[in-house]
């Protein structure tokens, strides 16, 4: 009897321990997670620990490097040489953001399903099929052949130095919740991150949609809906600019584009629309202090932890401050004692699709001219958590991967699309930033940009000697009109053209223009006079507002720049709303509708966070877009609506245009009747909403959301105004992820910045979301740029 009880009790104990020590399905092991031994309790941070503001790091070379953390936890690193510097950068960044950098590299590698299971399988397959992993592998070979290799290896060693010190109890909390551990870092992972950013910035194009639209509507109508150069644009390189070079001609191609068949495929996800950025620089003559001012605010998905991490890097040779992307060495947007720089997305289409002609007699090869080439095969294995291993064989042509075929996204068995993407060529964009960090003058800036091939980026520049410049830099193939804008035929692609690039010195560029400022906000880089063909998905509102404001300003101050970066003026509304209001018959309106009309009539077009007018306008305008483009909503057809700008222009100049007719109704509509209908629909929608839901910050719901979609670590309905089309481009998912203003005085560099997040990636940290409130209010922090280690020490002691 006693034996039975003993066995029973022991068995029960073991059962209890077993169940709580092992994950059940997608839940973590609760015994481990909730215990004080290795559970999340250990991630709590004491206030006292915040007082420790200096850390001494021993580097492999035997030196001790000091890291000073200021009152916002920004680390300032003072090292004696570059190996030590980048080693410590790796260590310091890992200390605050290890989970984030690892998770991003896993996403880029198409390995998220290893962590979160089957729900990430589709997106993993897509990421592997577009070939970033292969491109990153080849990029590492470039690092290794270059003096740059010491930088990336030192950085890697620094990260691993931190990982090796980690005990299970102090793993970042996301590892504990998701039930996995960090792997060793490697140069391959840093390369993956750069490719991932390239995907974020160029991974969206409309080649397929445009091809389908062209075939459906005919050339004339297509050009009306999707003009290559819409009227009234304000390009990055001012219109008066003379292109002082003779353009190279494209090498011969063998047939005309685009293909004449319909392509349809499905996507696991679509890139959100408003990822762009603003930057500008003002010449000293136009500023109050007689020093040039440079401003940069990149727009990205707003995440916790923030995509950016502030820091200062210093050796006896150079001293730089700015934001870095955790996982890659150097400062990406920032300044040093001589120059400042920033980036916006160039949007030049460097992602082209080609239809593959499969060899019907041997499906392992495809047609190229009169021959057949065998596909290269890359077997991708997915170790899905809690599921069986999945294998996906991806075919590669000489141009790139076959992304869509019968195994993935293609509805038609024999319709295969191969991707030709500049990002898939091995490259080392990180070296550009490494060189910019040390750059002293304009020539250094141009030399640094030579390493930058993809994505196309507008690099704005200013220096202490009052030079300002902007260059849209990237490797762009010399193309014929229409080439790359539509789906082409792989079998007739001339291989000699794959690396036939526009020379870098012919990239759009201007230095010290007579108008006294340079700027970019993802608009056309040039007007039609630029001697090379290009196409892209461009911006039509922010850039014109920025340029209007900059032109009208005199004796510009830092405060003027802060105001401009936070400008909520909704130019689209200002241009189209008056016309829309004019189409509504006031007499037949309900009292609610009359109230809305009156509110909108008095609106000054500022989309502030606490007003309702932007919400009313947005709903009304969205309905106008929907009703106008009903012809393009065809079941099973991959199409895209024309730009809002084009739609607005058509309404204002061609209100009787045929496409305004709503096909499903007997009557023939014009723009005016659509506007009226859209208004009625909007009023109906408004009746179904709570009053509070119409307040812009609630309606728009700008949020900062955790990278692994953990709601408890996210913020919703942040009280910030603006819209993707406003200079303050705060949309729902994306927005200004960093706002920086730098004044390059002859004696001193003064800088201000803010981002919506906090330096620490630990959700338990009291400073986790420290900066969000100020960011939303449009306020800035003074950036502590210490000229020497002694000054850093002094400051830390004073503020502790």
């Amino acid at each position: 009897m006693n034996k039975l009880l003993a066995i029973g009790s022991s068995f029960l104990t073991l059962l209890f321990l077993y169940f709580l020590n092992n994950p059940i399905g997608t839940s973590p092991a609760f015994g481990t997670l909730l215990s004080p031994n290795q559970g999340f309790w250990n991630n709590s941070v004491s206030k006292k620990s915040l007082e420790k503001r200096v850390e001494f790091v021993e580097t492999p070379s035997g030196n001790t490097v000091s890291v000073y953390y200021d009152e916002r936890l920004v680390p300032h690193i003072f090292a004696q040489n570059e190996e030590d510097l980048y080693f410590v950068q790796g260590y310091v960044v890992a200390k605050d953001r290890l989970w984030q950098m690892e998770f991003m590299s896993m996403a880029a590698a198409g390995r998220l399903s290893e962590i979160v299971g089957e729900k990430a399988l589709a997106i993993d397959r897509y990421h592997r099929r577009i070939g970033m992993a292969k491109a990153a592998e080849e990029s590492v070979k470039i690092f290794e052949s270059d003096s740059y290799s010491k930088v990336v290896y030192a950085f890697t060693d620094g990260v691993n130095h931190y990982i090796n010190k980690l005990k299970p109890s102090i793993l970042p909390v996301e590892y504990k919740l998701l039930g996995y551990r960090p792997e060793a870092w490697s140069p391959y992972k840093s390369a993956l991150l750069m490719k991932f950013m390239a995907n974020d910035l160029t991974g969206n194009d409309y080649d397929v949609e445009f091809t389908n639209a062209l075939n459906m509507l005919g050339r004339e109508m297509f050009d009306v809906l999707y003009p290559l150069f819409p009227e009234h644009q304000d390009p990055i390189i001012p219109v008066e600019h003379n292109w002082n070079f003779t353009a190279k001609q494209p090498k011969e191609i063998l047939n005309n584009l685009p293909i004449e068949e319909e392509i349809s495929h499905s996507h696991p996800y679509r890139k959100p629309k408003n990822i762009g950025s603003n930057n500008w620089a003002i010449s000293a003559q136009r500023t109050a202090n007689g020093a040039p001012i440079l401003c940069s605010d990149p727009h990205l998905n707003l995440r916790f932890p923030a995509i950016w991490y502030e820091m200062q890097l210093s050796t006896p040779e150079f001293n730089t401050y700015g934001v870095t992307i955790p996982g890659s060495p150097g400062i990406v947007i920032g300044f040093n004692e001589n120059i400042a720089w920033g980036v916006t997305n160039g949007a030049w289409d460097v992602r082209d699709w080609y239809k593959v002609d499969l060899n019907i007699n041997d499906k392992n090869s495809y047609k190229v001219g009169d021959e057949f080439y065998p596909f290269e095969k890359r077997v991708e294995t997915f170790k899905v958590k809690n599921g069986p291993e999945v294998v996906d064989t991806v075919l590669w042509t000489f141009l790139g991967p076959v992304v869509y075929d019968k195994n993935f996204g293609s509805k038609d068995d024999e319709k295969m699309l191969s991707l030709h993407w500049e990002a898939l060529n091995p490259s080392n964009e990180a070296k550009t930033f490494y060189l910019l960090n040390k750059a002293e003058n304009h020539k250094d800036y141009l030399d640094a940009l030579e390493y930058f091939s993809c994505p196309s980026q507008n690099f704005v520049y200013a220096d202490r000697n009052n030079n300002i410049a902007i260059k849209e830099r990237g490797n762009f193939i010399i193309q014929y009109p229409d080439e790359g804008r539509f789906v082409g035929q792989l079998s007739t692609f001339n291989q000699e053209r794959m690396f036939d690039y526009i020379p870098s010195s012919h990239n759009p560029y201007v230095l010290n223009p007579s108008r006294g400022f340079v700027s970019s906000a993802n608009q056309h880089p040039t007007d039609q006079n630029y001697p090379y063909y290009y196409n892209g998905i461009y911006e039509y509102y922010r850039n014109r507002r920025i340029n209007d404001q900059l032109r009208s300003m005199d004796k510009v101050t830092i405060e003027d720049m802060m105001k401009l970066q936070n400008d909520n003026y909704y130019l689209l509304a200002a241009e189209i709303l008056p016309y829309m209001l004019g189409q509504i018959n006031m007499t037949a309106l309900s009292s609610k509708a009359k109230a809305v009309m009156q509110l909108l009539s008095k609106w000054d077009y500022f989309a502030n966070h606490n007003q309702k007018e932007p919400a009313y306008f947005q709903m009304w305008w969205d309905n106008v877009m929907k009703l106008t483009w009903d012809e393009l909503k065809v079941e099973g057809k991959t199409l895209i609506n024309p730009e809002e700008y084009t739609t607005a222009q058509l309404i204002l100049t061609k209100p009787d245009f045929a496409l305004f007719d709503v096909k499903s109704t007997k009557a023939v509509e014009t723009a005016n009747s659509i506007i009226s209908q859209a208004f009625d629909q909007m009023i109906e929608e408004v009746q179904g909403k709570q009053e509070d839901d119409l307040i812009w910050q609630n309606f728009k719901n700008s949020g900062v959301r955790h990278l692994a979609q953990i709601k408890a670590f996210s913020m919703e309905k942040v009280p910030v105004g603006g819209h993707g089309n406003c200079v303050n481009a705060a949309g729902t998912e994306a927005g200004p992820s960093w706002r920086m203003i730098v004044e390059l005085g002859k004696d001193e560099v003064k800088a201000y910045g803010v981002y919506p997040g906090g330096q620490s990636g630990n959700p338990a940290h009291p400073y986790y979301n420290q900066f969000v409130e100020n960011w939303a209010k449009g306020e800035y922090y003074i950036l502590n740029f210490f000229k020497s280690e002694d000054l850093a020490k002094k400051h830390i002691n004073q503020t502790n």
């Binding site: 022991s10 004491s46 959700p763």
Partner: protein, 133 residues
């Protein structure tokens, strides 16, 4: 019983920073075996439970409850609004308590089974001797 509780509490507290969580059950089992008794489950439960409670409250308060509240809201998303910070503390402590209680009880019962087995062997030997005479 107080002595049992104290020993388990001290040993568990010392082991928390260095060992995985289930070691508490092993400690409780050892103490339950060496000092068995009827209230073994309770001793284990209180010994481990109080040790864990001490650590957990320390972690909770030094952080102003931030981590507790955030993790609790992760759970309340899937389990319901009744999950809050105090519940999370309670459940954490309960896990430790049950592990300690079961371990201690098992230790005690194992001792009892071991002892009765030895006694049975002794009794059988004596019966045999009487028979021979």
């Amino acid at each position: 019983m107080i002595i049992n509780i104290s020993i388990i509490l001290i040993l568990t507290a010392l082991s928390v920073p260095y060992t995985p969580w289930y070691i508490a059950a092993v400690i409780a089992l050892a103490v339950g075996f060496i000092r068995p008794g009827k209230m073994s489950f309770v001793s284990g439960m209180l010994g481990v439970g109080l040790a864990w409670l001490g650590y957990i409250l320390y972690f909770h308060f030094r952080n102003d409850g931030i981590i507790t509240q955030k993790i609790a809201s992760i759970f309340s998303e899937s389990l319901g609004n009744w999950v809050n910070a105090p519940i999370l503390i309670l459940v954490s402590v309960i896990i430790g308590s049950v592990a300690g209680g079961l371990g201690s009880m098992s230790g005690s019962l194992l001792y009892a089974a071991f002892k009765s087995n030895t006694n049975k062997v002794k009794r059988n030997k004596r019966t045999y001797k009487l028979k021979i005479q």
